[in-house]
Protein backbone atom coordinates (compact mmCIF):
# COMPACT_ATOMS: atom_id res chain seq x y z
CA UNK A 1 0.00 0.00 0.00
CA UNK A 2 1.30 3.45 -0.87
CA UNK A 3 1.71 5.61 2.18
CA UNK A 4 -1.28 7.80 2.99
CA UNK A 5 -3.64 6.11 0.57
CA UNK A 6 -6.93 4.84 1.85
CA UNK A 7 -7.69 1.16 1.35
CA UNK A 8 -11.25 1.36 0.04
CA UNK A 9 -11.88 0.57 -3.61
CA UNK A 10 -13.64 3.40 -5.45
CA UNK A 11 -15.99 1.95 -8.04
CA UNK A 12 -17.02 4.54 -10.61
CA UNK A 13 -20.11 3.50 -12.56
CA UNK A 14 -20.08 5.85 -15.50
CA UNK A 15 -20.46 5.36 -19.24
CA UNK A 16 -18.44 8.44 -20.17
CA UNK A 17 -14.96 7.08 -20.90
CA UNK A 18 -13.58 10.60 -20.74
CA UNK A 19 -13.91 10.54 -16.96
CA UNK A 20 -11.30 7.78 -16.78
CA UNK A 21 -8.53 9.93 -18.10
CA UNK A 22 -9.34 13.38 -16.81
CA UNK A 23 -8.06 15.10 -13.69
CA UNK A 24 -10.80 13.68 -11.51
CA UNK A 25 -9.59 10.10 -11.92
CA UNK A 26 -5.99 11.07 -11.17
CA UNK A 27 -7.09 12.97 -8.10
CA UNK A 28 -9.01 9.99 -6.71
CA UNK A 29 -6.04 7.72 -7.41
CA UNK A 30 -3.84 9.90 -5.24
CA UNK A 31 -6.12 9.33 -2.26
CA UNK A 32 -7.31 5.76 -2.70
CA UNK A 33 -5.48 2.54 -3.36
CA UNK A 34 -7.74 1.30 -6.12
CA UNK A 35 -10.07 3.04 -8.58
CA UNK A 36 -12.16 0.86 -10.86
CA UNK A 37 -14.30 2.13 -13.73
CA UNK A 38 -17.29 0.20 -15.06
CA UNK A 39 -19.18 1.49 -18.04
CA UNK A 40 -22.38 -0.49 -17.58
CA UNK A 41 -24.60 -1.14 -14.62
CA UNK A 42 -24.42 -4.91 -15.09
CA UNK A 43 -20.61 -4.93 -15.18
CA UNK A 44 -20.61 -2.88 -11.99
CA UNK A 45 -23.02 -5.28 -10.25
CA UNK A 46 -20.84 -8.22 -11.27
CA UNK A 47 -17.79 -6.43 -9.86
CA UNK A 48 -19.54 -5.79 -6.55
CA UNK A 49 -20.66 -9.39 -6.35
CA UNK A 50 -17.11 -10.65 -6.93
CA UNK A 51 -15.63 -8.22 -4.40
CA UNK A 52 -18.18 -8.16 -1.59
CA UNK A 53 -15.63 -9.01 1.09
CA UNK A 54 -13.71 -5.82 0.14
CA UNK A 55 -14.36 -2.26 1.23
CA UNK A 56 -16.09 -0.53 -1.68
CA UNK A 57 -17.40 3.02 -2.21
CA UNK A 58 -19.50 3.62 -5.30
CA UNK A 59 -19.76 6.77 -7.41
CA UNK A 60 -22.85 6.22 -9.52
CA UNK A 61 -23.99 8.07 -12.57
CA UNK A 62 -27.74 7.78 -12.99
CA UNK A 63 -28.11 8.16 -16.74
CA UNK A 64 -26.97 5.47 -19.15
CA UNK A 65 -27.84 4.88 -22.80
CA UNK A 66 -31.56 4.10 -23.15
CA UNK A 67 -30.85 0.55 -24.35
CA UNK A 68 -29.10 -0.26 -21.06
CA UNK A 69 -30.04 -0.59 -17.41
CA UNK A 70 -30.13 2.72 -15.55
CA UNK A 71 -28.58 3.88 -12.28
CA UNK A 72 -31.76 3.38 -10.27
CA UNK A 73 -31.82 -0.26 -11.37
CA UNK A 74 -28.24 -0.56 -10.09
CA UNK A 75 -29.27 0.84 -6.70
CA UNK A 76 -32.16 -1.60 -6.36
CA UNK A 77 -30.05 -4.60 -7.34
CA UNK A 78 -27.16 -3.52 -5.13
CA UNK A 79 -29.41 -3.32 -2.07
CA UNK A 80 -30.39 -6.95 -2.61
CA UNK A 81 -26.72 -7.85 -2.15
CA UNK A 82 -25.70 -5.45 0.60
CA UNK A 83 -26.90 -2.29 2.30
CA UNK A 84 -23.54 -1.43 3.78
CA UNK A 85 -21.85 -0.10 0.63
CA UNK A 86 -21.99 3.72 0.47
CA UNK A 87 -23.31 4.95 -2.87
CA UNK A 88 -22.70 8.53 -3.94
CA UNK A 89 -24.99 9.64 -6.72
CA UNK A 90 -22.91 11.54 -9.23
CA UNK A 91 -25.16 13.05 -11.80
CA UNK A 92 -25.36 15.91 -14.24
CA UNK A 93 -29.12 15.81 -14.11
CA UNK A 94 -31.14 18.29 -12.11
CA UNK A 95 -34.53 16.82 -13.01
CA UNK A 96 -34.62 13.89 -10.59
CA UNK A 97 -38.07 13.73 -9.07
CA UNK A 98 -41.10 11.58 -8.33
CA UNK A 99 -40.71 7.81 -8.35
CA UNK A 100 -37.09 7.93 -9.41
CA UNK A 101 -36.21 10.25 -6.53
CA UNK A 102 -38.08 7.96 -4.12
CA UNK A 103 -36.11 4.94 -5.37
CA UNK A 104 -32.87 6.79 -4.77
CA UNK A 105 -33.85 7.77 -1.25
CA UNK A 106 -35.06 4.24 -0.49
CA UNK A 107 -31.70 3.01 -1.73
CA UNK A 108 -30.10 4.69 1.29
CA UNK A 109 -27.88 6.82 -0.86
CA UNK A 110 -24.89 8.17 1.03
CA UNK A 111 -24.65 11.54 -0.78
CA UNK A 112 -25.50 13.43 -3.95
CA UNK A 113 -22.83 15.09 -6.05
CA UNK A 114 -23.22 17.22 -9.11
CA UNK A 115 -21.12 16.38 -12.14
CA UNK A 116 -19.89 19.94 -11.90
CA UNK A 117 -18.48 19.34 -8.39
CA UNK A 118 -14.79 20.10 -8.02
CA UNK A 119 -12.20 17.40 -7.41
CA UNK A 120 -11.84 18.67 -3.83
CA UNK A 121 -15.58 18.31 -3.22
CA UNK A 122 -15.57 14.79 -4.64
CA UNK A 123 -12.57 13.80 -2.53
CA UNK A 124 -14.16 15.20 0.61
CA UNK A 125 -17.32 13.13 0.09
CA UNK A 126 -15.25 10.02 -0.69
CA UNK A 127 -13.22 10.51 2.49
CA UNK A 128 -16.44 10.87 4.51
CA UNK A 129 -17.78 7.67 2.97
CA UNK A 130 -14.50 5.96 3.84
CA UNK A 131 -14.71 7.24 7.42
CA UNK A 132 -18.25 5.89 7.60
CA UNK A 133 -17.06 2.49 6.38
CA UNK A 134 -14.20 2.51 8.87
CA UNK A 135 -16.66 3.01 11.72
CA UNK A 136 -18.56 -0.13 10.74
CA UNK A 137 -18.05 -3.47 12.44
CA UNK A 138 -17.10 -5.31 9.28
CA UNK A 139 -14.06 -3.08 8.89
CA UNK A 140 -12.95 -3.95 12.42
CA UNK A 141 -13.49 -7.62 11.61
CA UNK A 142 -11.45 -7.17 8.43
CA UNK A 143 -8.56 -5.68 10.41
CA UNK A 144 -8.73 -8.61 12.81
CA UNK A 145 -8.73 -10.98 9.88
CA UNK A 146 -5.61 -9.38 8.45
CA UNK A 147 -3.72 -10.34 11.59
CA UNK A 148 -4.15 -14.01 10.66
CA UNK A 149 -2.44 -16.02 7.96
CA UNK A 150 -4.30 -16.93 4.78
CA UNK A 151 -4.39 -20.54 5.91
CA UNK A 152 -5.95 -19.58 9.24
CA UNK A 153 -8.55 -17.42 7.51
CA UNK A 154 -9.77 -20.30 5.37
CA UNK A 155 -9.96 -23.11 7.92
CA UNK A 156 -13.11 -23.81 10.00
CA UNK A 157 -13.23 -21.24 12.77
CA UNK A 158 -16.71 -21.26 14.24
CA UNK A 159 -19.26 -24.08 14.36
CA UNK A 160 -22.85 -23.79 15.43
CA UNK A 161 -24.93 -26.45 17.07
CA UNK A 162 -27.37 -26.35 14.19
CA UNK A 163 -24.69 -27.81 11.97
CA UNK A 164 -23.08 -24.81 10.26
CA UNK A 165 -19.35 -24.25 9.97
CA UNK A 166 -17.69 -20.92 9.12
CA UNK A 167 -14.13 -19.86 8.35
CA UNK A 168 -12.97 -16.35 9.31
CA UNK A 169 -13.45 -15.28 5.68
CA UNK A 170 -16.95 -16.73 5.70
CA UNK A 171 -17.77 -14.63 8.76
CA UNK A 172 -16.60 -11.42 7.07
CA UNK A 173 -18.67 -12.29 4.01
CA UNK A 174 -21.74 -13.02 6.18
CA UNK A 175 -21.36 -9.63 7.88
CA UNK A 176 -20.79 -7.73 4.63
CA UNK A 177 -23.73 -9.41 2.90
CA UNK A 178 -25.83 -8.75 5.99
CA UNK A 179 -27.22 -12.27 6.11
CA UNK A 180 -29.21 -13.14 9.25
CA UNK A 181 -26.11 -14.84 10.67
CA UNK A 182 -23.93 -11.88 9.69
CA UNK A 183 -26.30 -9.52 11.48
CA UNK A 184 -26.24 -11.77 14.53
CA UNK A 185 -22.43 -11.69 14.63
CA UNK A 186 -22.40 -7.89 14.35
CA UNK A 187 -24.98 -7.69 17.12
CA UNK A 188 -22.95 -10.04 19.35
CA UNK A 189 -19.86 -7.86 18.93
CA UNK A 190 -21.84 -4.70 19.68
CA UNK A 191 -23.43 -6.30 22.74
CA UNK A 192 -20.06 -7.31 24.11
CA UNK A 193 -18.74 -3.78 23.62
CA UNK A 194 -21.72 -2.29 25.43
CA UNK A 195 -21.47 -4.89 28.20
CA UNK A 196 -17.77 -4.12 28.76
CA UNK A 197 -18.47 -0.38 28.85
CA UNK A 198 -21.37 -0.71 31.27
CA UNK A 199 -19.39 -2.95 33.58
CA UNK A 200 -16.55 -0.38 33.34
CA UNK A 201 -14.12 -2.98 32.08
CA UNK A 202 -13.35 -0.59 29.22
CA UNK A 203 -13.76 3.11 28.62
CA UNK A 204 -14.37 5.07 25.47
Amino acid sequence: MEQGKRTATILVVEDDKGQQTNGFALEVETGFERVVFKETVNDALAFVNDNLPSKIIILLDLGFPKSEEQGVYFLNELRKQSRRIPVIIWSGRDDIEGAEYQEIINGSTFAFLSKSASSEEIMEILRKADDYLNSQIDTAVESWLESHSEEERKKPFLKTSDGQSYSMEDLLREIRMQTPFGKKIALDINKLTIDLLFRKKEQI
Binding site: W144, L158, T160, S161, D162, I189, D195, L196, K201
Partner: protein, 200 residues
Protein backbone atom coordinates in the same frame (compact mmCIF):
# COMPACT_ATOMS: atom_id res chain seq x y z
CA UNK B 1 -26.03 -43.89 42.72
CA UNK B 2 -27.65 -41.39 40.38
CA UNK B 3 -29.54 -42.78 37.43
CA UNK B 4 -27.88 -41.03 34.55
CA UNK B 5 -28.34 -41.25 30.77
CA UNK B 6 -25.89 -39.52 28.43
CA UNK B 7 -26.57 -38.85 24.73
CA UNK B 8 -23.79 -37.49 22.52
CA UNK B 9 -23.23 -37.41 18.79
CA UNK B 10 -19.51 -38.10 18.46
CA UNK B 11 -19.65 -38.64 14.69
CA UNK B 12 -21.47 -35.46 13.80
CA UNK B 13 -19.84 -33.83 10.74
CA UNK B 14 -19.35 -30.45 12.38
CA UNK B 15 -19.45 -30.79 16.13
CA UNK B 16 -18.66 -34.47 16.65
CA UNK B 17 -15.25 -33.75 18.20
CA UNK B 18 -16.75 -31.13 20.47
CA UNK B 19 -19.61 -33.34 21.62
CA UNK B 20 -17.11 -36.14 22.31
CA UNK B 21 -14.94 -33.77 24.33
CA UNK B 22 -17.96 -32.66 26.37
CA UNK B 23 -18.95 -36.25 27.03
CA UNK B 24 -15.41 -37.17 28.20
CA UNK B 25 -15.37 -34.21 30.54
CA UNK B 26 -18.79 -35.15 31.84
CA UNK B 27 -17.88 -38.82 32.35
CA UNK B 28 -15.03 -37.71 34.60
CA UNK B 29 -17.63 -35.97 36.75
CA UNK B 30 -20.37 -38.60 36.67
CA UNK B 31 -18.12 -41.68 36.84
CA UNK B 32 -21.00 -43.90 35.79
CA UNK B 33 -23.74 -43.40 33.23
CA UNK B 34 -25.58 -45.15 30.44
CA UNK B 35 -24.21 -43.60 27.27
CA UNK B 36 -25.70 -43.52 23.80
CA UNK B 37 -23.56 -42.20 20.99
CA UNK B 38 -23.46 -42.31 17.21
CA UNK B 39 -23.73 -46.03 16.53
CA UNK B 40 -26.32 -48.64 15.66
CA UNK B 41 -27.35 -49.17 19.28
CA UNK B 42 -28.20 -45.52 19.71
CA UNK B 43 -31.64 -45.81 18.26
CA UNK B 44 -34.59 -44.04 19.67
CA UNK B 45 -36.13 -47.29 20.96
CA UNK B 46 -33.06 -48.16 23.00
CA UNK B 47 -32.97 -44.68 24.51
CA UNK B 48 -36.67 -44.86 25.33
CA UNK B 49 -36.20 -48.29 26.96
CA UNK B 50 -33.41 -46.89 29.06
CA UNK B 51 -35.48 -43.86 30.10
CA UNK B 52 -38.46 -46.04 30.96
CA UNK B 53 -36.26 -48.03 33.37
CA UNK B 54 -35.23 -44.81 35.12
CA UNK B 55 -38.29 -42.62 35.22
CA UNK B 56 -40.05 -44.14 38.23
CA UNK B 57 -37.87 -41.73 40.24
CA UNK B 58 -35.63 -38.75 39.51
CA UNK B 59 -32.95 -39.27 36.88
CA UNK B 60 -30.54 -37.21 34.86
CA UNK B 61 -30.65 -36.94 31.07
CA UNK B 62 -27.55 -35.22 29.69
CA UNK B 63 -27.23 -34.51 25.97
CA UNK B 64 -24.55 -33.07 23.73
CA UNK B 65 -26.47 -33.14 20.46
CA UNK B 66 -27.89 -30.99 17.72
CA UNK B 67 -31.23 -29.52 18.62
CA UNK B 68 -34.19 -27.69 17.13
CA UNK B 69 -37.18 -25.88 18.62
CA UNK B 70 -38.98 -29.17 19.17
CA UNK B 71 -36.44 -31.99 19.23
CA UNK B 72 -32.98 -33.35 19.95
CA UNK B 73 -31.15 -35.31 17.25
CA UNK B 74 -28.67 -38.17 17.38
CA UNK B 75 -27.21 -39.36 14.07
CA UNK B 76 -29.57 -36.87 12.36
CA UNK B 77 -32.61 -38.69 13.78
CA UNK B 78 -35.03 -37.35 16.36
CA UNK B 79 -34.44 -39.03 19.68
CA UNK B 80 -36.27 -36.67 22.04
CA UNK B 81 -39.39 -34.90 20.81
CA UNK B 82 -42.98 -34.17 21.88
CA UNK B 83 -43.85 -37.73 20.78
CA UNK B 84 -41.79 -39.39 23.50
CA UNK B 85 -41.67 -36.55 26.02
CA UNK B 86 -43.52 -38.65 28.61
CA UNK B 87 -40.41 -40.84 28.98
CA UNK B 88 -38.71 -37.83 30.55
CA UNK B 89 -41.04 -37.70 33.50
CA UNK B 90 -38.88 -37.17 36.62
CA UNK B 91 -35.90 -36.08 34.51
CA UNK B 92 -33.45 -33.29 35.07
CA UNK B 93 -32.79 -32.60 31.40
CA UNK B 94 -29.40 -30.94 30.82
CA UNK B 95 -28.57 -30.13 27.19
CA UNK B 96 -25.94 -28.39 25.14
CA UNK B 97 -28.13 -28.15 22.06
CA UNK B 98 -29.41 -25.10 20.26
CA UNK B 99 -33.00 -23.88 20.11
CA UNK B 100 -34.51 -26.67 22.24
CA UNK B 101 -35.21 -24.19 25.05
CA UNK B 102 -37.87 -22.58 22.85
CA UNK B 103 -40.61 -25.25 22.72
CA UNK B 104 -39.20 -28.60 23.73
CA UNK B 105 -38.29 -27.42 27.22
CA UNK B 106 -41.89 -26.56 28.14
CA UNK B 107 -43.21 -29.73 26.51
CA UNK B 108 -40.85 -31.83 28.65
CA UNK B 109 -41.84 -29.95 31.79
CA UNK B 110 -45.52 -30.38 30.93
CA UNK B 111 -44.84 -34.10 30.71
CA UNK B 112 -43.37 -34.29 34.18
CA UNK B 113 -39.70 -33.42 33.73
CA UNK B 114 -38.40 -31.69 36.88
CA UNK B 115 -35.99 -29.22 35.37
CA UNK B 116 -34.72 -28.17 31.94
CA UNK B 117 -31.30 -26.63 31.39
CA UNK B 118 -30.56 -25.69 27.80
CA UNK B 119 -30.29 -23.01 25.16
CA UNK B 120 -33.03 -20.96 23.60
CA UNK B 121 -31.11 -19.94 20.50
CA UNK B 122 -28.11 -21.03 18.43
CA UNK B 123 -25.04 -21.99 20.39
CA UNK B 124 -21.67 -21.68 18.71
CA UNK B 125 -18.21 -23.05 19.34
CA UNK B 126 -14.90 -21.46 18.31
CA UNK B 127 -12.82 -24.34 16.99
CA UNK B 128 -9.50 -23.23 18.50
CA UNK B 129 -11.14 -22.75 21.90
CA UNK B 130 -13.12 -25.97 22.04
CA UNK B 131 -11.71 -26.89 25.43
CA UNK B 132 -12.96 -23.67 27.05
CA UNK B 133 -16.38 -24.07 25.44
CA UNK B 134 -16.60 -27.72 26.54
CA UNK B 135 -15.63 -26.81 30.11
CA UNK B 136 -18.48 -24.31 30.21
CA UNK B 137 -20.89 -26.73 28.52
CA UNK B 138 -20.27 -29.27 31.30
CA UNK B 139 -19.77 -26.84 34.16
CA UNK B 140 -23.38 -26.83 35.36
CA UNK B 141 -23.23 -30.57 35.95
CA UNK B 142 -19.91 -30.23 37.72
CA UNK B 143 -21.47 -27.77 40.16
CA UNK B 144 -24.53 -29.95 40.54
CA UNK B 145 -22.39 -32.96 41.46
CA UNK B 146 -20.66 -30.75 44.04
CA UNK B 147 -23.95 -30.37 45.93
CA UNK B 148 -25.16 -27.08 44.48
CA UNK B 149 -28.86 -26.84 43.62
CA UNK B 150 -29.50 -26.46 39.91
CA UNK B 151 -30.37 -22.80 40.54
CA UNK B 152 -27.05 -22.20 42.31
CA UNK B 153 -25.22 -24.15 39.61
CA UNK B 154 -26.88 -22.03 36.93
CA UNK B 155 -25.82 -18.78 38.61
CA UNK B 156 -22.29 -20.15 39.04
CA UNK B 157 -22.05 -21.05 35.33
CA UNK B 158 -23.27 -17.58 34.31
CA UNK B 159 -20.46 -16.12 36.44
CA UNK B 160 -17.95 -18.51 34.90
CA UNK B 161 -19.01 -17.44 31.43
CA UNK B 162 -18.52 -13.80 32.44
CA UNK B 163 -15.09 -14.51 33.96
CA UNK B 164 -14.01 -16.30 30.79
CA UNK B 165 -15.32 -13.42 28.64
CA UNK B 166 -13.32 -10.94 30.73
CA UNK B 167 -10.21 -13.09 30.49
CA UNK B 168 -10.49 -13.45 26.73
CA UNK B 169 -11.80 -10.24 25.25
CA UNK B 170 -8.47 -8.41 25.10
CA UNK B 171 -6.83 -11.15 23.06
CA UNK B 172 -9.82 -12.71 21.34
CA UNK B 173 -12.79 -10.38 21.07
CA UNK B 174 -14.64 -12.64 18.72
CA UNK B 175 -14.42 -15.62 21.01
CA UNK B 176 -15.55 -13.49 23.95
CA UNK B 177 -18.56 -12.23 21.95
CA UNK B 178 -19.50 -15.80 21.07
CA UNK B 179 -19.25 -16.87 24.71
CA UNK B 180 -21.46 -13.99 25.71
CA UNK B 181 -24.06 -15.01 23.18
CA UNK B 182 -24.00 -18.60 24.46
CA UNK B 183 -24.27 -17.35 28.05
CA UNK B 184 -27.29 -15.21 27.25
CA UNK B 185 -28.92 -17.99 25.29
CA UNK B 186 -28.75 -20.38 28.26
CA UNK B 187 -32.00 -20.96 30.17
CA UNK B 188 -33.13 -22.84 33.24
CA UNK B 189 -36.78 -23.82 33.65
CA UNK B 190 -38.64 -25.86 36.23
CA UNK B 191 -37.53 -26.76 39.76
CA UNK B 192 -34.46 -24.67 40.59
CA UNK B 193 -34.08 -26.20 44.06
CA UNK B 194 -33.35 -29.64 42.71
CA UNK B 195 -30.17 -31.06 44.25
CA UNK B 196 -28.15 -34.22 43.97
CA UNK B 197 -29.57 -35.54 47.23
CA UNK B 198 -32.99 -35.66 45.55
CA UNK B 199 -31.63 -38.33 43.18
CA UNK B 200 -30.31 -40.84 45.68
Amino acid sequence: MIKDILLYDDEDDDLGDFFRLCSYKYMKVAKQCVAFKHDSKSCKDAIERSMSKCNNSKFLLVSFLHGSDDALYLSKKEVISPHNAYFLSNAFCYTFSCHCGKNLAQILLDNGACTFWGYIDNVSVIVDNEDDFADLAVSGLRHFYCNKTVGEAYDAVKKEYTSKIDALYKTDYFCAATLMYNRDSMILLGDKNLAINDFT
